[in-house]
């Protein structure tokens, strides 16, 4: 039965029982199909047009065949030759990201304090990334691209919050995995990069793991030219705080200074920073907790709120729960527009590995509250004996908080 309709027909499907067949013959037929497949399973499937044979790929031994367009996690490109990153911190990717896992801060000229088309901090939370590829699509500088590495399993969840240092990939790497896509983007990307480089003072915008190398190279050049009038560009060791990879002690010191400067008196201008007390016992792990604390203080400052002095609390690992709780409470209070009491327990500090989550959470909440223009909860910055794992979360928090704080009053230090 079939009824003609526009460009087709309505066809009643023929039911098997309507066809004359010897009983049992269909079973024999079925067995024939299965049998054929069994026999054919001893040879390899020839391709798409072949429906017999196996097409098993012995995956770990045989590398997976990945098409060029394949996307997994975003990475940041930098130029092979100059080491300059293509990113100019335009925030397009951070804005479009559906799960909002991209965070960054813009680099600032350490001398003039003006924004530079380079990125100071860049974080992607791989664990929440949905691999949609919007960031790579929207990036006007072709800086953020989708990587094709999919073997990312780990039992170390914090390692899935990835910072600039680990996000960086040379252009040659991307050109290797996606030659056609890169060929399309190449010309404009490199042109834009040249423009950005012109506006980047010193080592700003150079991929973190190359910064030291390039700075050293420049110092060498400067020393070689010592007889001649000193070149302007020779970077003194303490110059571009944001771009250079500081030793942990330096960082912790710097951050402590920032915290001290900004946390206490909001209206006061930021203490120009890194005159930091080197006296502070900075364990390598310290830096990030310190940073987190600093940013919280900064947020509070930006809101015009009196941030209480950070209660230095040497925290034991057991503290983390309390910290978490404090953060939640602070957030709730903030959401209600209430003045949050200074958190009595020092939440930022006591980082056992597991603590980082709490820190991160607290920071995010602080940021959210700040974004609403509400009274930010008092930042309980603590002198931070933090465990190594804590640092990432704290750093992430710092960046977020900084972004949130940016609008009203940029009390930015040398960062």
């Amino acid at each position: 039965m079939s009824i003609q309709i526009e460009r087709g027909a309505i066809v009643a499907v023929a039911r098997g029982s309507q066809r004359a067949r010897l009983p049992g013959m269909a079973m024999v037929d079925s067995m024939g199909v299965v049998w054929k497949h069994w026999v054919e399973s001893f040879r390899k499937n020839r391709g798409f047009s072949d429906i017999h044979g196996t097409f098993t790929q012995e995956y770990p031994e045989e590398p997976a065949k990945i098409p060029e367009a394949y996307r997994n996690m975003p990475v940041l490109l930098y130029d092979d030759e100059t080491g300059h990153e293509l990113c100019t911190s335009c925030y397009q990717c951070a804005r479009i990201c559906p799960p909002q896992v991209i965070h960054m801060t813009q680099a600032k000229d350490p001398v003039t304090g003006k924004a530079v088309p380079a990125v100071a901090e860049f974080v992607i939370e791989y664990d929440a990334c949905m691999s949609c590829g919007f960031c790579a699509e929207v990036c006007p500088f072709d800086s953020i691209k989708m990587d094709q590495v999919f073997e990312l399993s780990t039992d170390d969840r914090p390692s899935l919050t990835v910072f600039k240092h680990d996000l960086g990939r040379p252009i040659s790497y991307y050109a290797g995995i996606a030659p056609n896509l890169w060929a399309e983007a190449k010309e404009s990307a490199l042109k834009k990069l040249q423009n950005s480089i012109k506006r980047r003072p010193d080592v700003l915008g150079i991929a973190p793991h190359l910064t030291e190398k390039i700075a050293a190279r420049r110092r060498e050049l400067a020393a070689a030219a010592a007889a001649a009038p000193p070149p302007v560009a020779a970077p003194p060791a303490d110059a571009p705080a944001a771009a250079k990879k500081l030793t942990p002690e330096e960082k912790a010191a710097k951050l402590a200074a920032m915290r001290a400067g900004k946390g206490a008196t909001p209206a006061a201008p930021a203490v120009e920073a890194p005159a930091a007390p080197a006296a502070e016992p900075a364990s390598p792990a310290d830096e990030k907790a310190a940073k987190l604390a600093a940013i919280r203080a900064k947020n509070a400052a930006a809101k015009g709120d009196v941030a209480p002095a950070a209660p230095a609390a040497p925290a034991s690992p057991a503290d983390e729960k309390a910290a978490k709780l404090a953060a939640i409470r602070a957030k709730n209070a903030a959401a209600k527009g209430e003045v949050a009491p200074a958190a009595p327990v020092a939440p930022a500090a006591p980082a056992s590995p597991a603590d980082e989550k709490a820190a991160k959470l607290a920071a995010i909440r602080a940021k959210n509250a700040a974004a609403k223009g509400e009274v930010a909860p008092a930042a309980p910055a603590a002198e931070p004996p933090a465990a190594p794992l804590d640092e990432k979360a704290a750093r992430l928090a710092a960046i977020r908080a900084k972004n949130a704080a940016k609008q009203p009053d940029d009390a930015s230090g040398p960062e």
């Binding site: 460009r7 066809v11 009643a12 023929a14 072949d50 559906p98």
Partner: protein
């Protein structure tokens, strides 16, 4: 006189035959189903509320995660809705690519769904493996075009994310060569198979009027003898340019739904062949260059719908003029097709329940959203 007692039992939510976290509250009398209440909600993840917090474009990858078997079809419905709301034109080539992807989706969905249906009947893994193999080839194509196998996120407002790669059409032609062989073989394996017929003929009958009353759509509705296909009823995109038939069943049992799906795979292949012949060769016009992705539709509401492989998939959007939807509602075919499950199962045996459920072809990601 033997007296029996009714017993209430749960099938699911953690049960391999429920295709996800789905619970059926069953009243049985011996082996016979006296009553069945489908219980949803175990996979609820606030999809619609999240969507109202996102910009219009940001929702595109979230629609992938509704019916994760058919992300392309979900993308299509959502893109259609937004385009209708904003008034975005779609270039010819983009339309063809879209329809091509959606029809491939239909084939892979049915290949998988029938595999699972046969699996539920007890033909453990055989047809499923065959179906999955064909599905795999299509997923390879999807991956080469969109970058992902399941969460394609390929559609954009005014077109698709990127043009087809150079080797796509040759591979597609290769695939189409295998297609009739695969479907024919599947019919030979199953269509007249006595076991399949005994498990499916006269089982889970959904009468025509009941199907209409429940607003069932897709192969389930067509299996009940109603020739309703959104592609024919309200041709969207460029479906009015293709010749294809609408297969319908006559009884409305599991067997009819099976046959309808097999025939739909053939019809989809027919459409794809026409696309291959007609596809405009204008490289680069895969998206309307004037279409802004960061849309701010005028105040109003819109309902965009497509014939997804599972039925009528619709997105109802209300715009308040801002960049985010004020209201975002999904008309999920799986969800609505699942509601008459009680009526379909009443009077049959417990073993039939999984078969009937399999014949509806649900994806819990879409049912619960």
């Amino acid at each position: 006189m033997l007296k029996t007692e009714e017993l209430q039992i749960n099938i699911g939510p953690q049960h391999p035959s429920t295709h996800g976290v789905f619970r059926m509250l069953v009243t049985v009398d011996g082996e016979t189903i006296m009553d069945l209440k489908p219980v949803f909600g175990y996979l609820h993840r606030n999809h619609e509320q999240i969507a109202e917090q996102n910009t219009y474009l940001q929702n595109m990858p979230y629609t992938d995660r509704l019916d994760y078997f058919n992300s392309m079809a979900n993308n299509h419905a959502y893109a259609l809705a937004v385009e209708k709301l904003v008034g975005i034109e779609v270039p010819e080539r983009a339309e063809y690519i879209r329809v091509l992807m959606v029809e491939l989706t239909r084939i892979l969905n049915h290949a998988g769904a029938l595999g699972f249906l046969i699996n539920d009947m007890g033909m453990w893994q055989t047809q499923l493996a065959f179906g999955m193999r064909e599905r795999e080839k299509i997923l390879d194509l999807f991956e080469s075009a969109s970058g992902a196998r399941l969460m394609c996120n390929y559609f954009r407002f005014g077109g698709v994310a990127r043009d087809l790669p150079a080797d796509f059409m040759p591979r597609l032609a290769d695939l189409l060569k295998a297609m009739p062989g695969f479907v024919d073989e599947m019919e030979r394996l199953l269509r007249d198979n006595e076991i399949l017929m005994q498990r499916s003929e006269g089982i889970g009958i959904l009468p025509r009027d009941l199907a209409l009353a429940y607003s069932v759509t897709g192969p389930v509705l067509r299996g009940s003898g109603v020739a309703y296909d959104v592609r024919k009823a309200e041709p969207y995109s460029i479906y009015d340019r293709f010749d294809f038939d609408v297969p319908v069943g006559s009884v409305g049992d599991v067997y009819d739904r099976f046959l309808v799906r097999v025939e739909e795979m053939r019809q989809s292949r027919r459409i794809i062949e026409q696309i291959v012949a007609q596809l405009p060769d204008a490289t680069g016009s895969h998206i309307n260059p004037k279409a802004r992705q960061n849309v701010k539709p005028p105040v109003g509401d819109v309902y965009g719908r497509v014939e997804s492989p599972k039925g009528e998939l619709g997105f109802y959007l209300v715009s308040d003029g801002s960049g985010k939807p004020y209201r975002y509602k999904v008309r999920a075919p799986s969800f609505i097709n699942l509601t008459p499950l009680g009526d379909m199962c009443r009077g049959y045996k417990v073993a039939d329940v999984v078969v009937i459920l399999g014949s509806i072809d649900i994806v819990m990601g879409e049912v619960d959203r």
